[in-house]
Symmetry: C2
Subunit: 307 residues, 2 copies
C-alpha cells in the first residue's frame, strides 16, 4: 500500500452509454456513476470496459467537464488517461488533475509492439514532466492480453525510483496471480489492485489495495462486501459467490453483457449500445443473459434514483 495512494477497495471501470447516434450520453453516464459511488465504488472512468479508446480525446475531455460539474466526489475518480501519443496522454492527464481526480490509470502506448522498457520509461517520464503537477498520482495499467505491452517489474522499479511521489500503484489485469504476488512482495508504498474480483481476497491477504473490476459495474455491493469483510470467517464463501457471478457473465462478451444487463434490469434498451468494433449482444445472447440474471436473482437496487 502506498502512503501517496488515495484509493483502496473496489473501483468500477465505468461503462460508457451511447445515444442513438452513437455519441456518449452524459446523462445516462452520470446516473450510473452516481449509483456506483452510492455502492462504495470508486470510478475508474475510461478503462478498457468503458470503451475509452473508442472515444476521441475531445469526447473524453467533454465527459470530464460534465462529471466535474455534476457535484460528484472527484477524489473518488481514477480516469484512464494513457494513450498512444504523448500529447493526448498529457492533455487527458492534465485535465484529470485540474478537476481534482484522485488519480489516473495509465495504459502504456499500445500501437508499436515489442518496444523497450527504455522507450516506455521515456513515455511515462515525458507525460509526467509535461503535466508537471505535484497533485498527479499515476496508477500504471498492466493489461498485456489487450494492450500487448506489458508493464515489467524492471520498468516499475525504475519509475518508482525516479517518480516516487507520482507513480503510486498499478492495476494488474494480467490474470497472472504470480505476477500480482511478485509486485506485492517487491514494492513498498505501492498500491496493487487486482484486475478482477476473482483475485480480491488473495490480493488483500497479500497486502494489496483492492480491485478494479468490470463486473463492479453491475455487482458492486457484493464485491464491496467481500472487500470490507475479507478477514471474516465467511470471506472464502463471499469470494466463491462473487467469482461465480463473474464467471456467469464472462460466458458472454463482457462489455456488451455489462451494458445489456444495465439495459435489461433498468428497462432502458438504449444502454445496450456499443461502438464498433464491439458488437451488441444478439437475441440468443440476450436470452442467455436473461437466464443467468434470473438464476442469480440479480438486481441493481437504487439504480436511477436521485438522478
Amino acid at each position: 500500500m502506498s502512503s501517496n495512494a488515495a484509493f483502496t477497495g473496489v473501483l468500477s471501470p465505468v461503462v460508457t452509454p451511447f445515444d442513438s447516434d452513437l455519441n456518449p450520453d452524459p446523462q445516462r453516464w452520470i446516473t450510473h456513476c452516481r449509483w456506483l459511488l452510492s455502492q462504495q465504488c470508486g470510478l475508474a472512468l475510461f478503462g478498457t470496459n468503458s470503451e475509452a479508446n473508442s472515444l476521441s480525446v475531445a469526447e473524453r475531455l467533454s465527459l470530464l467537464d460534465e462529471i466535474a460539474a455534476s457535484g460528484l466526489d472527484m477524489a473518488r475518480m481514477m480516469p484512464g488517461t494513457g494513450a498512444c501519443s504523448i500529447p493526448d496522454a498529457v492533455e487527458l492527464t492534465g485535465k484529470a488533475v485540474d478537476i481534482g481526480c484522485g488519480g489516473v490509470l495509465m495504459l502504456p502506448p499500445f500501437y508499436y509492439k515489442g518496444v523497450s522498457d527504455e522507450g516506455l520509461f521515456g513515455y511515462y517520464s515525458e507525460v509526467i514532466q509535461r503535466v508537471g503537477s505535484h497533485d498527479l498520482r499515476i496508477y500504471l495499467y498492466h493489461i498485456p492480453q489487450v494492450a500487448q505491452i506489458p508493464i515489467s517489474l524492471a520498468l516499475i522499479e525504475r519509475l518508482l525510483k525516479e517518480y516516487p511521489e507520482t507513480v503510486v500503484g498499478i492495476k494488474d489485469s494480467s490474470g497472472d496471480w504470480s505476477n500480482t504476488q511478485t509486485m506485492l512482495e517487491r514494492f513498498d508504498d505501492f498500491a496493487v489492485f487486482a484486475g478482477s474480483e476473482s483475485f480480491l481476497l488473495k490480493t488483500l491477504q497479500a497486502g494489496g489495495a483492492g480491485c478494479i473490476s468490470a463486473t463492479a459495474n453491475i455487482n458492486p455491493a457484493a464485491i464491496h462486501d467481500l472487500y470490507v469483510n475479507w478477514r471474516s470467517d465467511d470471506a472464502d464463501e463471499r469470494q466463491r459467490s462473487t467469482t461465480a457471478f463473474r464467471e456467469s457473465i464472462a460466458q458472454l462478451p463482457m462489455i456488451p453483457a455489462l451494458k445489456a444487463t444495465i439495459a435489461t434490469v433498468n428497462g432502458d434498451d438504449g444502454w445496450a449500445r456499443v461502438r464498433p468494433p464491439l458488437v451488441e449482444l444478439d437475441g440468443a445472447q440476450r436470452g442467455t443473459l436473461d437466464a443467468l440474471l434470473k438464476r442469480h436473482e440479480f438486481s441493481m437496487p437504487g439504480w436511477g434514483m436521485g438522478s
Copy 2:
C-alpha cells in the same frame, strides 16, 4: 488493379521529423516529402513508419494543413487515417478528402483484440457513412503483427460488396506472400500493394499495384526503377539488390534507422529524433548504420534542394 484506384507504383510511409521539443517539424517534413515526390514516390503520410499513432489527431490535422499549403501534388498523398475511435478516423479522413488527397490508408481500430469481422465492418461502415463523400478512396491496411487485428478476406469481400466505389485497395504488410497472392487472385478491381519492396516483383507479376515500403524513405529511386523495369531481363537482379539493401537496414530498428540515415547523409542530426515509446539508435547502432551505408555507397541525391 482497381479502376477507382489512383495510385500505382511505389509509396513511402513518410517518416515524421521532430524538433528539439519533440513536436512535429513541418519544415523538415515538407523538405522530405518534396524529395520523395521528385523520386516518383507517392506519399503514405502517417503510416506505421511515420509514428502516426504517436501524434495526436490535432498534430496530424495541422500537418495536413501545412502540406495542403505547400503546393505539393495532393493527388499523390495517401495519409493514414485509421484510429481506435470512429470520431478520430472520421475527422482525419474528412480532412484528407477536403484537401484533395488521392486516397487514405485505413488501419482497423487496434485496441480491442479478437474483435469480429462484424464489428470491423461496422467500424469501416460508420466512418464511410459519416464522411459521406464520393471522393473518398480507402485502402485497407493489413498489418497484423503490429495492429494485431487482421483484415480478413471475408471482411474485404463484404466491404467491396457494400462500398465498391470507396474501398479500392489494400496494403498487405503481413509479410505472408500467400495472403497477398490470394487477395490478388480473388478480388477484381482491387489495388493490392505489398508492404515491402521485397515482394514488389512478385506482386507486379501477379497483377498487383506496387508497394508501400519503409525503406522507400531513403532508397526510393532503386525501388521505383524496379517498378518501372519489372518486365525487363534484369528485374530479378534489381529485386535482389533492393532486397539486400532493405535487409541491411532491417538489422537495426527500422524507424530510428531510417531517421538516422536521413540525419547522417544530410548532416542534420535533429532528424534522428523519435518519440517514445520508440528510442533513437545508440552510438553502437549508429556505427553499424554508418558502416552499412558506406558498404552500399549510399546517398540521397537531391535531398534538401529546392526546399
